[in-house]
């Protein structure tokens, strides 16, 4: 395991992915869209559906909906202190995202829950992770 601590500067950035996290933290999360209207997530130079290389950024809807969820009790060492935590796949219209549902009792998260993106950090590693927060 590399020491990707979140004290910015020490960590090697993953172009595209870390840029997306920065944008999401500024409430400007986006998907990539080709001229045929296929959406995908970065880092990507080619549309995985049609091969188009003309990709532009389009803002994601502010609110998504949990499609499926699990509460993980047995975590990897990288998430040991976070367990138990809820991991969900949430539908944000043109794309889905996988993230941890925060600011709520994990056991109460169910499909249908309305969420917004909340970039959070792992209690174990301090690394940034994609998170979801229930919409009030």
């Amino acid at each position: 395991m590399s020491e990707n601590t979140e004290s910015d500067g020490e960590r090697t950035r993953d172009a595209g992915f870390d840029d997306w996290l920065d944008a999401a933290r500024a409430n400007e999360a986006y998907s990539l869209v080709c001229e045929a209207g296929h959406h995908s997530l970065p880092p990507r130079r080619v549309c995985p559906e049609c091969g188009s290389t003309d990709l532009t950024e389009e803002p994601l809807p502010e609110t998504g909906e949990v499609e499926t969820v699990t509460v993980t009790h047995v975590a990897t060492p990288s998430f040991e202190a976070d367990a138990p935590y809820a991991t969900a796949i949430a539908d944000f219209g043109p794309v889905r995202l996988t993230g941890q549902v925060v600011e709520v009792d994990p056991e109460t998260v169910e499909p249908g829950l309305a969420v917004e993106i909340a970039v959070t950090t792992s209690e174990t590693s301090g690394k940034r992770i994609v998170g979801f927060r229930p919409v009030q």
Binding site: T68, S78, Y85, G99, V130
Partner: protein
């Protein structure tokens, strides 16, 4: 097209052997397979070998030539990596090489050493079969990914944890006669339901164990089998491979496995059979829900109905299509790089009448082996038939 015959099979016992290296495990499995085949080592044209986490568990890459050496074979060797479908993919390439005439004899197998990593280390290692940026960094584990599929399945088609528990109980029951199995002990539906939760709705006994082990088969061309008068009554008559987007959230369906459907359709068409012809199957039940998704993808169950197949007795030994008579990954064990070839070895042995559970499928002529990688971004399916 000439058929490809299974001339010999060899499996180590699957279990916890933290001090045994992969090369030692594969040396045992390949020696057994070669002895079973009556094929001299000098006749082997290629060694194709599957392994997933060797760099992490043994600090060992470049395992192809190492494993040829362990098998006592000087033929060129290649390692295949497709997560839990690694040796299934190796086997598919062996079939293709034999069919196109490039080889007459191929030693194909796989091995994995996992338990020396411990539960935490192995969980971390298995997770890298998922998308690192978008899944692993969000805390998704391998059981967690299948749990997401299970929740989505229940939400879409119904069913519950108790239905899944019947699958675990069935596969443990099947393993009672399999001396190579990691768990030769019965598990009740109550045991499964009462086990600690790993990743809801999946508990400890919805999951296959961490396993060390190796598997090997000797495949030969029909011409070679005839020429050398080999006892090789079972042929691999169909092969297929499917693929899907890496991250679960990028797929069209969260509770179906289109890659396995694609692989199955190809394999059925290749063998010129249909799902109705299948007498038995070994499917990739790394988690109980995975068996459901596999049966539906292979059209052995209608979509939405696979969940009740074990509970209602359709896939039990006395049912229409017994599934995982070996005990499956669930009870036999899942040394990931060895699994695909071990499934084919079990199907061949069941069809040849040499398996302790062959009595349940007397007169069976057609079996299927289904091997999935990760959350089924990779899938490979083989059809085996009795031809001699």
């Amino acid at each position: 097209m000439s058929s490809v015959r299974v001339a010999g099979t060899g499996l180590t016992s699957f279990g916890e052997y933290p001090e045994r290296t992969s090369r030692d495990l594969f040396a045992e499995a390949s020696a057994t397979a070669l002895a079973d085949s009556d094929v001299p080592r000098d006749d082997v044209d290629a060694v194709l070998y599957g392994n997933f986490m060797g760099e992490l568990s043994e600090h060992q890459g470049h395992q192809g030539p190492l494993m040829a050496e362990a098998a006592g074979v000087t033929a060129p060797a290649t390692r295949y990596e497709a997560a839990c479908a690694s040796s299934g993919m190796a086997l598919r390439d062996a079939v293709i090489r034999l069919r196109n005439g490039e080889c007459d004899v191929v030693l194909v197998g796989g091995a994995e050493r996992m338990t020396n990593l411990g539960t935490a280390g192995a969980t971390e290692a298995l997770a890298i079969a998922a998308d690192d940026l978008w899944e692993v960094r969000a805390g998704m584990t391998f059981p967690g990914a299948y749990a997401l599929m299970a929740t989505a399945y229940f939400e879409t088609y119904g069913g519950d944890r108790e239905d899944l528990a019947h699958i675990a109980a069935k596969n443990h029951e099947n393993a009672l006669t399999n001396e190579k199995a990691q768990y030769q002990r019965a598990l009740s539906v109550e045991d499964v339901l009462e086990a600690p939760t790993v990743s809801s709705p999946l508990g400890l006994y919805d999951s296959c164990p961490l396993s060390d082990g190796a598997a090997a088969v000797v495949l030969v061309s029909e011409a070679y089998a005839d020429e050398h008068d080999l006892d090789a009554p079972v042929a691999i008559t169909g092969t297929g491979q499917g693929g899907d987007r890496m991250a679960l959230h990028d797929r069209e369906y969260l509770a179906r496995s289109p890659a396995a459907r694609e692989a199955g359709e190809q394999a059925y068409a290749d063998a010129e059979i249909g799902p109705e012809d299948v007498d038995l199957a070994e499917v990739h039940d790394c988690f109980t829900i995975a068996e459901v998704l596999a049966l539906e993808a292979l059209d052995l169950e209608q979509v939405g109905e696979g969940i009740s197949a074990a509970r209602d007795g359709r896939t039990t030994p006395d049912g229409d299509t017994p599934i995982n008579l070996s005990g499956g990954l669930k009870a036999k064990g899942h040394p990931v790089g060895a699994t695909g070839v071990s499934q084919v070895a079990e199907v061949a042995t069941l069809l040849a009448g040499d398996h302790p559970n062959s009595e349940y499928v007397e007169g069976a002529t057609t079996g299927v082996a289904h091997n999935a990688g990760g959350t089924v971004a990779s899938a490979v399916v083989h059809v085996l038939e009795v031809v001699a």
